[in-house]
């Protein structure tokens, strides 16, 4: 009996020791460095997922809330080869619905069976929701279909579609020169290019957030809500923009010009209401950029193409002369048809002599000789101080990517000659962009105050809307000078019975025709035709700048650009709900 007990105890002890040894070994293996390394590797590989959450790119709206740039749903289609049940169905449906190559898809679908490929393969991206709906329909059909008696069951198993957003421009080509575009095909390094998309890329894009998500569902990890990128509300009025683009296109066809630019600004605030340029470009198809804009051409001529503006520049020269006291509106000038400045002779546009004139007459007949004389009366120091104050030779700072500027040649510079004083006075030998010209001239329409041009009125960030206040650049001329010049320019149009006039509305403005410099001097056969004008004269609500590049129907701004101004004003008065002067004054008296 005692020996039996002894054996039982021995066996019990062996089992206990064996059990303890197993437990010890389990603990030892679990805590060995190799085990820790393995656990760490497995956790990183299979137990968690590192995701970069990209915020939705901010929207762009016009001033009334019309969406100009948003995001649309598209899909990435991929195949997980190990999950494929029927490679024929997969290849057949993807080729017929998405237009993919049948044999290529079949090869991918069978790659697990044939090569052991377990890798998920993306076969198409940016697929529209309509096409994915067709795939979903097929999927539903296969799920409810009866099993065939012969052959494999039709199945889309292994085909996956994942939704993501793609930049989209609902107005297509409208305001494309302002918006720029987003190269959405690059899903990793996509960014805004040109215009607002580039200028405000960081603001629109928002901030990426990286999160580590455990795959174990018991370890609940909240996915943070990533705020979308900031949205922009523009100063642009969609209705005015559409009208200006329509008029620009018509002007292009009527005049035979190579390009047309029409800018509309509120002179009081510097807000751009419209910026129309040609050619039209649809940012939804940004990959065609090279076709629309061959090498050397400009995406937005309004801010990036420099040109010699010609006689519209006379507004600035006359503003400087009146403000400095060099002349008054009644200062007499006898035009002999030529004037010598810096040893070279300057002539009028028609090479004629216009006899006795006052300053209004000089503007009305656009006399180069008179303006050159005025510049010499002021002297280079005064003239160029004013021209610099008007912002020539400097960036306007408009909030659009791609603004260009050409430095102003000043006395003392190597490329400045005394004759420049004369030629610059009527806008030759000086280069500017349309945005520089309208910004400078807007000072005359706004009591001498030059406002910074801008296209963003407000932005929305983290649920708050922040307004951007108009910025005064400087007081260039006195309010009295501005009023006097505005009146002179209105009179000159009326005296001339210009085609720029609009019935019921008094407007001020100036035509411009500029010769174009070429490799062998100025080319007399081609010109740049311009017009700058604003209204209503007694309380300006808009200023318009028109530039037709190399018109063929007529070289003169007064013939091709002035009627465009008239048409623009007729549209603006309706779209901006501006009553005729008589009605407005009557209403003001009530």
């Amino acid at each position: 009996m005692s020996s039996s007990n002894g054996r039982m105890r021995l066996i019990g002890a062996i089992f206990i020791i064996a059990g303890l040894a197993i437990i010890f070994q389990i603990v030892r293996v679990q805590n060995s460095p190799q085990a820790k390394e393995l656990i760490s590797f497995l956790e990183k590989t299979y137990n968690q997922e590192v995701r970069v959450l990209k915020p939705e790119r901010g929207n762009i709206y016009d001033r009334w809330g019309n969406l100009l740039a948003g995001n649309t749903e598209v899909y990435e289609i991929g195949i997980a080869p190990p999950q494929v049940i029927n490679s024929d169905t997969v290849a057949q449906d993807l080729s017929s619905i998405l237009g993919l190559d049948f044999s290529e898809i079949k090869k991918i679908a069978r790659s697990y069976v044939e090569e052991g490929n377990e890798r998920y393969m993306v076969v198409a991206d940016f697929v529209s929701a309509d096409k994915v709906q067709l795939l979903e329909k097929k999927l539903a059909e296969y799920e409810t279909a009866e099993k065939p008696k012969k052959g494999a069951t039709p199945s889309l198993n292994g085909v996956h579609w994942v939704a993501h957003l793609r930049r989209s421009y609902p107005e297509n080509a409208l305001a494309a020169n302002i918006l720029g575009f987003y190269n959405y095909y690059d899903r990793v390094d996509g960014r805004g290019i040109l215009g607002l998309e580039e200028q405000y890329n960081n603001l629109l894009a928002g901030t990426d957030t990286q999160v580590v998500l455990p795959m174990n569902p018991t370890e609940i990890q909240e996915i943070p809500s990533v705020p979308p990128g900031s949205s922009l509300i523009l100063t642009i009025d969609r209705g005015i923009q559409a009208a200006m683009e329509r008029i620009a296109q018509k002007a292009l066809e009527d005049s035979g010009a190579e390009a047309a630019t029409i800018l509309v600004m509120d002179p009081e605030t510097g807000e751009m209401l419209a910026m129309a340029t040609t050619p039209a470009f649809n940012p939804n198809e940004y990959q065609k950029y090279g076709d629309v804009f061959p090498l050397g051409s400009h995406y937005d001529r309004a801010i990036s193409q420099l040109y010699e503006p010609g006689s519209v520049f006379k507004v600035l020269t006359m503003a400087a002369a009146l403000d400095s006291g060099a002349v008054t509106p009644t200062t007499p000038f006898v035009d002999t048809g030529a004037i010598e400045v810096g040893g070279l002779w300057i002539y009028n546009w028609d090479r004629g002599a216009w006899g006795p004139q006052d300053m209004t007459g000089c503007l009305q007949h656009s006399l180069n000789v008179c303006l050159a004389w005025i510049a010499t009366e002021m002297g280079p120091t005064t003239f160029y101080t004013y021209i610099q104050n008007f912002g020539l030779g400097k960036y306007t700072g408009i909030d659009l990517a791609g603004e260009q500027v050409y430095p102003l040649s000043l006395p003392g510079d190597q490329n400045w000659y005394p004759v420049n004083l004369g030629t610059n006075s009527f806008g030759q030998g000086v280069a500017a962009t349309p945005i520089q010209m309208i910004t400078a001239t807007a000072a005359v329409a706004n009591d001498g105050k030059m406002m910074a041009p801008h296209v963003v009125k407000a932005y929305i960030q983290d649920g708050h809307q922040y307004d951007i206040s108009p910025r005064l650049v400087r007081q260039v001329i006195t309010p009295e000078t501005a009023h006097t010049l505005t009146e002179m320019l209105a009179n000159s149009l009326e005296n001339e019975a210009s085609v720029a006039l609009v019935e019921g509305y008094r407007v001020s403005g100036k035509t411009g025709t500029a010769e174009i410099p070429g490799p062998r001097g100025y080319e007399s056969s081609v010109t740049n035709a311009s017009f700058v004008g604003w209204g209503p004269t007694d309380d300006p609500k808009f200023i318009v700048y028109i530039w037709l590049e190399k018109p063929t129907s007529s070289p003169w701004g007064s013939v091709v650009a002035a009627p465009v101004f008239s048409e623009v004003v007729r549209e603006l008065t309706v779209l901006m709900k501006l009553p005729p002067d008589s009605v407005r004054q009557q209403l003001a008296q009530q």
Partner: protein, 157 residues
């Protein structure tokens, strides 16, 4: 006398000690199974909740994409060119200067620039929406509970 003998015999019975051991072991086993059952139940609940939360998060992402898409699709349908075409098809034409009659409206200051910021929401929206209880293991819950109990009674651990 007879009763005393039975009690004495019962007390001295060798299987009595064994029964006590078996009873104790069974008690431990039952308690262990109860704890394991509770643990399994809670783990299953947490897994179901975790999976549901993941589904809801995916649905939220999907809805955000759809909302953005629908806004853009609506904008396509309300684009200037599209609306112009629709208006013309319905027989409307663009207003001209001579078509317009201006009437003074006292107090009307003209069309105001749009305000698009969303209305003020719940300030706590940014805070975590998953309560800590959903992330705790049973062990953490017990440990934290014990710690809180000790702390509330002012006992130094």
């Amino acid at each position: 006398m007879f009763d005393q003998r039975i009690v004495q015999a019962y007390r001295q019975a060798p299987w009595r000690v064994q029964l006590q051991w078996i009873g104790a072991l069974l008690l431990v086993l039952v308690v262990g199974m109860l704890i394991a059952g509770v643990y399994l139940y809670l783990t299953a609940e947490a897994t179901a909740a975790g999976t549901h939360i993941r589904e809801l998060e995916l649905e939220r992402e999907d809805l955000q994409i759809r909302i953005a898409d629908q806004s853009t699709q609506l904008a396509f349908l309300r684009s200037a060119a599209f609306m112009q075409g629709r208006a013309e098809a319905l027989g409307y034409k663009n207003a001209r200067q001579e078509d317009i009659v201006y009437i003074p409206v006292p107090g009307y200051s003209g069309r105001q620039v749009v305000f698009l910021a969303p209305p003020p929401g719940n300030e706590s929206a940014d805070a975590s929406i998953i309560k800590p209880a959903y992330k705790e293991s049973l062990w953490e819950w017990l440990y934290q509970g014990t710690f809180d109990l000790i702390e509330s009674r002012g006992i130094q651990p």
